[in-house]
Symmetry: C2
Subunit: 525 residues, 2 copies
């Protein structure tokens, strides 16, 4: 498949007029063809106009038709074959197996949402039947369903070129909800984005979807993203990236004449609490698991374990010694972009420069231009509590161990944590009471709590929460991974005494799609 270096606006391929986006192979520094001339506000305008025009038809597609569309996107992505994973490798420096895994995850996610659409739980159907004889006032017939918010802007993330990009979780859940999507592709992988975008384009045509259901724009800097988020036809935004990037989108969305929700997944250091019994019984094994999780994907995961908290003493010393060895043995890995690498370097330098922080170990230095040298650091809880800078995210394989004098100090560290995507407990049976006493604090600070595992690896299922209090995300009431992500793009509408002929089909008395519903507050089906 020959890449054409174009934006995709509805069913059209459009060549941009602005500065070129050029992909760089981060492993070699070489630039990759073709160039992608960036879009202007005119293309944002056109994509939003098409999305709005598509909305009324797309949002009322049948559950089956919409599910089939999602499945067809998955098939079209798979049909690209090795061209996709090879281009992904070239644009990201990630190993091919990772791209293959990510493709599986992306297509699995689309199929999960197809099943979610069919099951119809997301409609949140409710019916309070009329009570014409109620005293002192009759009750009207009241029915409720969820409807989609409107066209959604998705900002592709650099860190998952497939699973959080053009056809990633934000796009899949918004399309599942009935929202047309305009993607601002990430400049780090335009070729991968074009391939996936064309797969969605083909699926839309095959399934007779209105063409504005999907568009893909490229653009330099934050211009296109900000223009998209400012467009009055856009009704919600999905974003995964930096805290500053997310905050900028939030500010833009709030400053609109009509403010809109922004779902920004931003910043998390994913604390790991080491409880005493577990540390004593299997500190070495925990240390090895920790460094493996830390190094995964050069640490470029939102759920990377960037903070470890334990009680100072011989067991923690032994843990640190094992971790030190593992870090020293860690090979260098190429980071995704020059910008990420630069931010990693300056983050690690800043941390090393803190007088209260001790460098424990660095991994092997690499030959490539953008390689990540793993870093392990240690600081006392006292210093952590007195210095907010020690809580900043360093995106990449760097982690800080916090030594607490006692359980009370561990509690104080927990109290002071910012919002997180995940918090991990390494604990044995004898640690139960200590874990119990910390749990209420941890629950208030994270979207996912896990025991005796590692936070990297986010299952795409129904019970997953990939979210959490600010600054982990801009909206803790939601998740960006898993089937519940669909609720981000929906709102309830109540229909009072509507004639049967006017009532949406899903709300009919006979429940034609056999969707679970609440009747007078009681669950049926």
């Amino acid at each position: 498949m020959t890449l054409q270096g174009t934006l995709l606006i509805g069913q059209q391929a459009v060549t941009g007029t602005q500065a070129d986006i050029v992909a760089v192979n981060p492993a070699t520094g070489e630039t990759l063809e073709p160039r992608y001339p960036g879009g202007s506000r005119a293309e944002v305008e056109k994509a939003c106009q098409l999305a709005e025009a598509a909305f009324d038809q797309y949002r009322e597609t049948s559950l089956e038709a919409r599910a089939h569309f999602l499945e067809t996107i998955a098939e079209e992505i798979e049909a690209i074959g090795a061209d996709l994973t090879q281009r992904g490798v070239a644009e990201t420096g990630l190993p091919e197996a990772r791209l293959e895994g990510e493709r599986g995850r992306t297509c699995g996610q689309l199929r999960l949402f197809a099943s979610v659409v069919r099951a119809g739980e997301w409609l949140d159907l409710r019916h309070d039947p009329a009570q014409p004889d109620r005293q002192p006032m009759p009750r009207a017939d009241l029915r409720q369903r969820h409807i989609p918010l409107g066209p959604v802007a998705v900002c592709g993330a650099s860190i998952f070129p497939l699973a959080f990009s053009v056809a990633g979780g934000d796009t899949a859940s918004a399309l599942a909800a009935g929202c047309p999507v305009v993607v601002k592709g990430h400049s780090a992988h335009p070729g991968t984005s074009e391939l996936v975008g064309r797969a969605i384009q083909r699926a839309a045509a095959k399934c007779n979807m209105p063409e504005g259901v999907f568009s893909l724009l490229f653009g330099s800097g934050r211009d296109i993203g900000q223009a998209l988020v400012s467009d009055p036809r856009i009704k919600a935004v999905g974003f995964t990236g930096s805290r500053s990037g997310g905050m900028a989108l939030m500010a833009t969305a709030q400053a609109r004449p009509e403010p809109i929700p922004v779902y920004a997944e931003m910043s998390s250091i994913n604390p790991v609490f080491l409880f005493p019994e577990a540390l004593q019984a299997r500190g070495n094994k925990i240390a090895e698991g920790f460094v493996a999780s830390l190094n995964m994907g050069a640490g470029q995961f939102c759920t990377n374990p960037g903070l470890v908290i334990g009680l100072k003493g011989a067991d923690l010393d032994a843990f640190i010694t094992t971790a030190e060895e593992a870090v020293k043995a860690s090979g260098a890995q190429t980071m995704l972009t020059p910008g990420i690498h630069e931010a990693y370097q300056s983050g690690v330098s800043a941390l090393s420069g803190q007088s209260s922080v001790k460098e424990v170990a660095r991994g092997k230095a690499g030959d490539g231009p953008h390689s990540c040298q793993t870093g392990l650091f240690v600081a006392s809880a006292q210093n952590f509590l007195n210095n907010d800078a020690l809580q900043g995210e360093i995106f990449g394989a760097a982690s800080l161990v916090i030594e607490c004098a006692d359980a009370q100090e561990m509690q104080r560290v927990a109290d002071q944590l910012e919002g997180q995507l995940t918090i991990t407990l390494q604990m044995d049976d004898g640690d139960l009471e200590a874990a119990k006493s910390l749990l209420p604090t941890l629950e208030q600070r994270a979207g996912r709590l896990l025991a005796n595992g590692w936070p990297t690896g986010v299952e795409v299922g129904h019970a997953m929460v990939h979210g959490g209090p600010f600054p982990a995300t801009s909206d803790s009431r939601t998740t960006s991974v898993g089937s519940a992500a669909i609720y981000r793009f929906l709102r309830p509408v109540c229909y009072q005494d509507l004639p049967a002929g006017l009532l949406p089909e899903v709300l009919r008395d006979d429940n034609p799609f056999k969707v679970s519903r609440l009747v007078d507050g009681k669950r049926e089906g």
Copy 2:
């Protein structure tokens, strides 16, 4: 019961130190004893500190204990007896029957939320069981529940001294979710607020709730409200009031180091579409129903029908003539506060002053200092489309009829509507196709669509939506009336591989409270 003129902070009664809040009987202009010295930031601080201290205990109260607490609040409010309705009448100028009705609604609402708490749907329980043998990677055990956000600030509304005030829908739904509540009582009805606040205080003591579960503050101007919303311990805000007031709270909430959700119900003119067959068949009856709805409570409802849209012609003329007669016969009614009356007067003057607007009729002028003289106006669709000012809310009994040249122009008026709480269709069988063609537009602009009724009168049930796109509310994804209002104060947490001893009780395998849940995405129970 003797009013003491105090703030209620936890179980304490505290006399404020700032300028007095003094209630005024709007019917007579006389001031009412006692005076309420306003709170300062010190009292905001104390209330928030207690709320935070109460949170961990309160949020883990059993479903039964929390439901019983809500029911006890209802009992304690009822036990106040006529003192409550009489003080309410004195502070609002509303008739006693309205206060009695509102008390019934308020207590019914508390009991509805008690039943909602017991049913446990709000927990949104999900379980994806472990799959240890899955290839290529095992699946962890993943469970999800909703937990409360944290202490909630509620700003009492002037317009419903009971149902949207101290123990109103925001407080009831936040307490049901497991959130402690700090209310900023409305300065228009401090005595009514104190009576209800003390009822909640007694219920909290009787039910052995932690004292910080509820506090009630008074304060001049917006100081206390803004201080509350800025407090880092407050995690969400409920508000019903003006667009400018809601926007100010939204700005404060977004500017915090940790932004929080604001649920502001602000501004809606509740358009009524008159379809041709209905207008021809029963225009007179519709006109009478319309004016009755317009005049209800001196028009002081968020759902007051402030805009009527029909096709120009003899049938609409006849409708206007009947409405004109009914408006002229409308008696004056006392408005709730001098401020609301002043805003009504200036809103009506501004509308009358528009050269494109014709005054059709005014109701009878009143003798009282703050009486509302009903107003009916008419303008062409062309003028409406060219003048955003005609879409501004006038809070009170004033409505504007828009004459459309044809169905296309009616569609254009619908296209240009801002977000609304409700949109009403007056339609007969022959209007079905016309209504169908307009419906997608209307759905996008309102939280509730109703046919052949009137928007005033908001049922408190499970299928109700009292919400809608901006500026009707700050967050269209929710409702502030009805059982779904509880979801505003919750967020999901995922528990991965937690030992049974650490897992929240509601998530246990045996589902001890028999709550409906999703297991691998399939509904059980």
